[in-house]
Structure formats: C-alpha cells, structure tokens
Amino acid sequence: MITTKPVNQKAWWLVLPVVICVAFSAVLPLMTVVNYSLQDIFSPERRVFVGTEWFALVMRDEELHAALWRQLTFSLAVLTVEIPLGIMLALAMPAKGWKSSAVLVVVALSLLIPWNVVGTIWQIFGRTDIGLLGAMLQEMGYDYSYTGNGTHAWLTVLTMDVWHWTPLVALLCFAGLRSIPDAYYQAARIDGASKFAVFRYIQLPKMRGVLMIAVLLRFMDSFMIYTEPFVLTGGGPGNATTFLSQYLTQKAVGQFDLGPAAAFSLIYFLIILLLCFILYNWMQRVGTDSKEGSDHE
C-alpha cells in the first residue's frame, strides 16, 4: 500500500538551533581558513585574490611531502602497535572484584596526564645524564640520544604515544569484552573451542564496534599529534620528528605564511576525512564479507 506521508516544514525550526551552533563552531571558522587560502592578505585593505596558487605551491613543497610521509608512517606504526597491545592488555585484565577496579585505575592513569606534561616526563625520562631510560640504555651500551639521532627521536615519540594512549584502546576493548554474555563462553566450552578459537570467533567479532572507535580515535589523534613531540624534541633533530601539525604551525605562526598554511590546513582536513572514511568502511566490511555483499547492519 502506498501512502503519501504528510510533509511538515515546521521540522526545520527544530533543526535550526543545531544548524546555528554548527555554523558558529565549525563552518564559519572553516570559511575564514578558506578565505585565507584563496587570497594573499597584507592588511584588511590590501588583499589580492590568488585562486589556487597557494594550493599549487604547497602541493609542490618537498618538505611538506616529507612531513606527510613521516606522519603516515607514524600513524600506521601507532595503530599497528597500540591496537594489538590494547587488545592483549584488555584480555589480560581481571574481569571481576577489587583487582579489576584496581587494575582499571592503574591502566587509566596515563590518560589523566596533560599532553605537555607527558612530553616533559619523557624528556626527562630519556635524558642520558639524569633520565632513568636514557641513562639505563647508555649503561647497557646503546648510544641512545633522542636529541642527536633521528631514528632514536622518532622511536621515542612512538614509545611515548604508545605509553600514553594504549590504555585508551585497552579500556575500550575491556568494555567490549565485558559486554559479551557468559552464554557465549559456555557454548564455546561445550563446543570444545580452543582459546584461540574463542578469541577469533567470539571476542574479536564482538569487539568490532569498540575497535572501530579505537582505531578511528587513535588514527585521528595520532595524525594530529603536536604537543608531545613539540615538548620532547621540538621536531628535531633536523626534521626527524616534524609531523604535519608542527610543520603547519611553523608555517602559519613561525613564518607567518598564512596563505599556504591555510591552503594546507584544508588539504590536511580532507586527508583526515578521507582516511577516516576509508578506515570506517573497511572495518564495517571486514569479517562480514557475506556473499551477497549487501550487509549493512
């Protein structure tokens, strides 16, 4: 039976407050950036429309390419380390009783520390003269120096991020694991499933939702990482730990190249949007590759 639904335009008024909020919080600031990216502004009176010139300029920027690759490698490394590690942590955490509460608090501790403090902690921790980590590595015969060696600096930033954010992944996974009804584990015992089979066919599929959130959050956050490497290495040595945000800040605030910086901001924004879209769709589909290929739940 076909019925025509009554159309009621009054609904627009109900949406209006949200539209206004979003306009002021997101669309208008973004339009300022668009404004800067399309003009060369010397002063409010003197400005020239330059079209796509700034975009063309930043697209050819070799340093930017290097920063982008560095950033992609870093985010990829963050995901490949933090997601499996977080899952393992969650699986190892006690499920019930006071031990569970105690472990939860300990695990969550690093999440409570402000970003710049995290940077400072690791800056001191890694120092070869007074830092526990740095001095120990020196003692063990490694010529470790996050200020002198690019690879060491990069690895230190990665380790710092893993230390800071793996607990988030672990907590999300822990919540996902706790929501699995006991009957699933009981059925698995009856069916004679191995520990790995329980993980592969029960725990992992049931964690899909929280893992998706974890991957997206960790990807976006790590792709925009700024404060911790800024405090720890300042982007150095050389450009070894200059990630996209920092490069952008140098351009906009350091050199006051607002045009190219704005153009690049927009590209940056689109890259994140695109990658999140790809990740999200991939994770929606992985493991549900039904033969009909029409699986949208």
């Binding site: 009957a183 009981q186 059925a187 009856i190 004679g192 499933a193 029960i202 049931k206």
Partner: protein, 358 residues
C-alpha cells in the same frame, strides 16, 4: 551416550549453613541412557544449576557426577563430550550457518568429508538446508536458535544433550513445531535428552520422565500420569495442572476425618495417622453430588467460568475455596447456588508435612 548418575549438592556460597544457602540441596538422581527427561520448576529452583553441573560448566560444591560409573566430576565439558543448548541463541557471528554447525566437529578434528555429511543431515532435520551458505548473523531469532539446537545435535557420539529452556525466544506456533522436531529426533537418534523448563506443558509433552524441583530440592520424579494422579508433594499438586490441586486442611480424630467442620468416616483401606493433615483433590475429580452424600461438602458457588471445553467452578465452604472442573454437558450451577462437592474418592490424596501419605 551414557547413563548419568548424580549424587550432588551445590551452594554458590563458601560456607553454607542452612537450607536457604544451597542452590541445590543434596540430591541423588539417575538418568537412563537414551531417555527423554525434563527438569520442571519455577525460576530459581536450581534446575539450571543442576544442568550446568551435569555438563561440567560448574563444579558441584560436594558430591560426584558419574557417566556410566566413571567419575567425571572434575572433567571439562569437552572431556565429558556433552552438548548443551542455552536459553538465548548463541551463534558465531562471522561464520555461515554451515560453519556454525560444523564448529563442534572441527574442534574435534573430524575429517572434513564426514563433517559435510553430518552438517547436511542436521540441517535437513532442522529445515536449515536452504540457508547453509548464509551468514548466521543476519538470520531471525528462531533461525538462530535452530542453529544453536543444531550445534547441540551435530555430534553423533555425545553422552547427552542438555537443553536450558531453549524455546523461550521462539514464537508459539514455531514452539510446537520445534518441540515435535526434538521428540522426533529423540526417537531417531536415541540420544539422552535432558530438557529444563518452567512450562509444564512443554515438560509433560516432551519427556518420558519429569523431575519437579522447587527451592533446590527435587520433590518428585515420574511420568506425566504419576505427577498428575499421585503428586508426592503438595508443591507438585500446586504446580502441575491448571488450576492446581485443591488442598483442604483436615484432621483425623478417633477414626473420624474432619474437614471444614464436617465429619467423615475414614476412607476404606487407608490408615491415616491421627492429627493434622491435608486432603488433596484435583479439580478434575471433584464431583457434583446429592445433598446427603457421605463424601461431599456443601459449598456456595462464588464463581462459574465457562472456558468452552469445561466449566470452572469456585465454591466456598467456610473460608475454604474449592475449585472444580465440570464437563460442559453437565448442568452447571450458577453463582450463589449452594451445591455439594464430592471430595472423597479414589483420586483423593492425603498429605502430612507436605508429603504424600501412602
């Protein structure tokens, strides 16, 4: 396949002191190989606990579980080779229906060609053949529960298949179908099936032997007929039947039986002890009698419900309410009438301390 002998007690508390601390009071029970059993009782009576102890998901706090005289108390469900189906469907989301059914067999390293054959047979039995290649996650609840049932039945060599209220999530018309299916499977495969439910119709139609439980105790094990005719415990009388048995306080005093102030001669051939007891009679066996009948009580009819297949009368005798079920072709009295209910007959049972007197 195996005979299962239980001699167990279970408490979820560390130091059980009194009867209330036990989920399952000390109990002995034997399940014959190839039998169809039901554990019947209200929620929280310990029937699921008993099932989990049999399957090995739970270790009893004391006692032993034996399969064919072999002590399996400490063995895992896998070692006991037992199958169990749960109240809510448990399926492996990422697998197809066929893979779900094959899962218990693959875990036991059965050769792939035999798995295929066996899965085909079980799917045929449960009418899942057309859906074997579909992803299990996308199916409706009753199809999912069929898969759970299938995983329970797929292993040909199991000691027993345990069902924990498996038809709770199923629509009423499908319930009938699936229950018939299970009965049919029982005849075909000769498996030992143990079925937990709180629905008396389900239990009585499914099982040859029904164990009625309440508050961690087994109060009677018997056929549907025995549970109906000779309830061993007042709880069974209450729980089985719709409505349940009438229980009237009575007293035996100097070879006379006193019920609600009326005196009767002792039923012939019975040796009732002196003192307080309870007279039990099913509403189906209460008869309308003449006024001067020596087995009847005068009652004032307070309710007369015509249910189509029968008329349900509620009669008041003093402060006692007595229910009677009459066939519709009998002339039923109306509300407010005073009639005589015959309560002493061959189907009348007597109880002392809630237990049936011989």
């Amino acid at each position: 396949m195996a005979r299962i002998d239980l001699d167990i007690a279970h408490s979820y508390r560390a130091n059980p002191q009194q009867d209330e601390d036990y989920a399952l009071l000390p109990l002995k029970m034997s399940f014959a190989d190839g039998g169809a059993y039901a554990l019947l009782g209200p929620s929280g009576c310990g029937k699921t606990t008993m099932l989990n102890i049999m399957s090995g998901l739970l270790a009893p706090s004391s006692g032993t579980v034996k399969f064919d005289d072999i002590d399996v108390t400490q063995l895992s469900p896998q070692q006991r080779n037992i199958a169990q189906v749960f109240q809510f469907p448990v399926i492996y989301d990422t697998m197809t229906v066929a893979d779900n059914l094959a899962f218990p067999l693959r875990n036991r390293k059965m050769p792939e060609d035999q798995i295929k054959k066996r899965v085909g047979e079980v799917a045929e039995m449960l009418e899942l053949s057309g859906q074997l290649d579909q992803r299990a996650a996308n199916l409706a609840a009753d199809a999912k529960q069929k898969i759970s049932l299938g995983r329970g039945l797929v292993r040909p060599d199991v000691s027993a298949v345990l069902f924990d209220e498996p038809l709770t999530v199923i629509d009423p018309h499908l319930k009938w179908q699936l229950r018939r299916k299970l009965k049919q499977i029982h005849h075909e495969l000769k498996l030992t099936l143990i079925y937990v439910t709180h629905d008396q119709v389900e239990a009585l139609t499914f099982a040859d032997q029904v164990m009625v439980m309440t508050r961690g105790r087994s109060v009677q094990v018997g056929s549907a007929d025995a549970l109906f005719e000779r309830p061993q415990h007042t709880f069974v009388g209450h729980f089985i039947g719709s409505p349940g048995m009438n229980f009237l306080p009575a007293q035996v005093d100097d070879q006379t039986l006193v019920v609600a102030g009326h005196k009767f001669g002792l039923p012939p051939g019975s040796a009732l002890p002196e003192g307080e007891l309870k007279l039990g009679i099913r509403p189906e066996y209460v008869t309308l009698t003449a006024a001067d009948d020596r087995t009847a009580l005068p009652v004032n009819i307070t309710q007369a419900l015509d249910i189509g297949t029968h008329v349900l009368l509620t009669g008041q005798c003093g402060d006692l309410a007595i229910k009677a079920r009459l066939s519709p072709d009998q002339h039923a009295p109306a509300c407010g009438d005073t009639v005589w209910f015959g309560v002493l007959g061959s189907h009348t049972c007597f109880y002392k301390n809630e237990e049936l007197l011989p």
